[in-house]
Amino acid sequence: MYFFDPHIHMAARTTDDFQTLAKMGCVVVGEPAFWMGYDRSGANSFYDYFRQLTEWEPKRAANYGIRHHSWMGINAKEAEDVGFAREVIATLPEFLQRPTVLGVGEIGLHKCTRNEVTTLLELIDLGMKTKEQLLFHTPHLEDKYPGTRMILDILRGDSRVNHGRVCIDHCEEHTIRPVLEEGYWAGITLYPVTKANPQRAVDMVEIYGAERILVNSSADWGPSDPFAVPAFILAMRRRGHPASRIRKLVYDNPLRFFRQSRNFRFAGPEEQPSEA
């Protein structure tokens, strides 16, 4: 079964993972700009990272037949220094025009501070000025519930935001309902210990349905599973869900969401004409 991983940090993974993903049927990955494990020393460091995501990673992925797309932004962990964040934000317009960029992300909250909110508002404003799609990171662990509610409050207050072009990611049992009820896409991240796992993701699909749900691994430089989406596929199969429903979650949904980005041009393997 062909699938997307709409949120995975391939810059932190070797080409072994691209190779295995390709063998498993991955055709597209979405990679948001994120925290590299320590705070960057300057805006130039971000500039080079954005170049990596928009120049190098698409080439690495293409060697394995995978389309690589990215999101540009300053992550919530490095958003506390508003002056520094503004320097980074100033570099974003150049990258938002690049042909593999889907929109602004992953932006959001970390400890839900006033400064993080200030940076977030400016990132949303940038995205709205150029009509970008938005991808939100919701906080970890104890901060996830209040942070998600705050993000929803912020977005509700901005009439420019098209809810259908926004993904609120890393949803869990206590945050997914309001995200879906307000018309956003809900990302469910299969990440050990701190987020969901395949079984709980299947539970959430069974409770809330398959509409506007994106399943992803968010695999990165930490203990994480870049093959979490195939693990989800298996979990769905073992619970008896039909292939059509599984395909909707791991292929049709991300395809529909990504196609809303002006830079996304993709003809899937099943849309290409067969040889005579």
């Binding site: 839900c112 662990l141 104890e142 901060d143 996830k144 519930y145 209040p146 509610r149 705050m150 409050d153 869990e172 049992e173 206590h174 709980r200 539970d203 069974e206 619970r239 008896g240 869900h241 039909p242 429903r245």
Partner: protein, 81 residues
């Protein structure tokens, strides 16, 4: 959509996994008790006890309720805070 499995089918499927994870939880709590020092007033233990109580209730929203036990509260007036 396939016919959802009956409760007894789900119990058959999940039982061994549940058993293993409950033993894991018990073993971790035992480790804490065997160790030197007292953590009786640690709020995290309070969260764990609250979660265990939720587990023993009869409702289909235990996962969501336990998530909330481990969550900070949301304040509607956060903009003024």
């Amino acid at each position: 959509m396939p016919t959802p499995p009956a409760a007894n089918e789900i119990l058959d499927r999940e039982f061994l996994d549940l058993r293993a994870r409950l033993i894991d939880v018990a073993a971790a709590l035992d480790r804490i008790d065997r160790a030197e020092g007292a953590v009786l007033n640690d709020p995290r233990l309070g969260q764990i006890r609250q979660s265990l109580q939720i587990l023993s209730t009869d409702s289909a929203d235990r996962a969501e309720r336990i998530q909330m036990v481990f969550s900070l509260p949301y304040r509607e007036d956060w903009r003024q805070a």
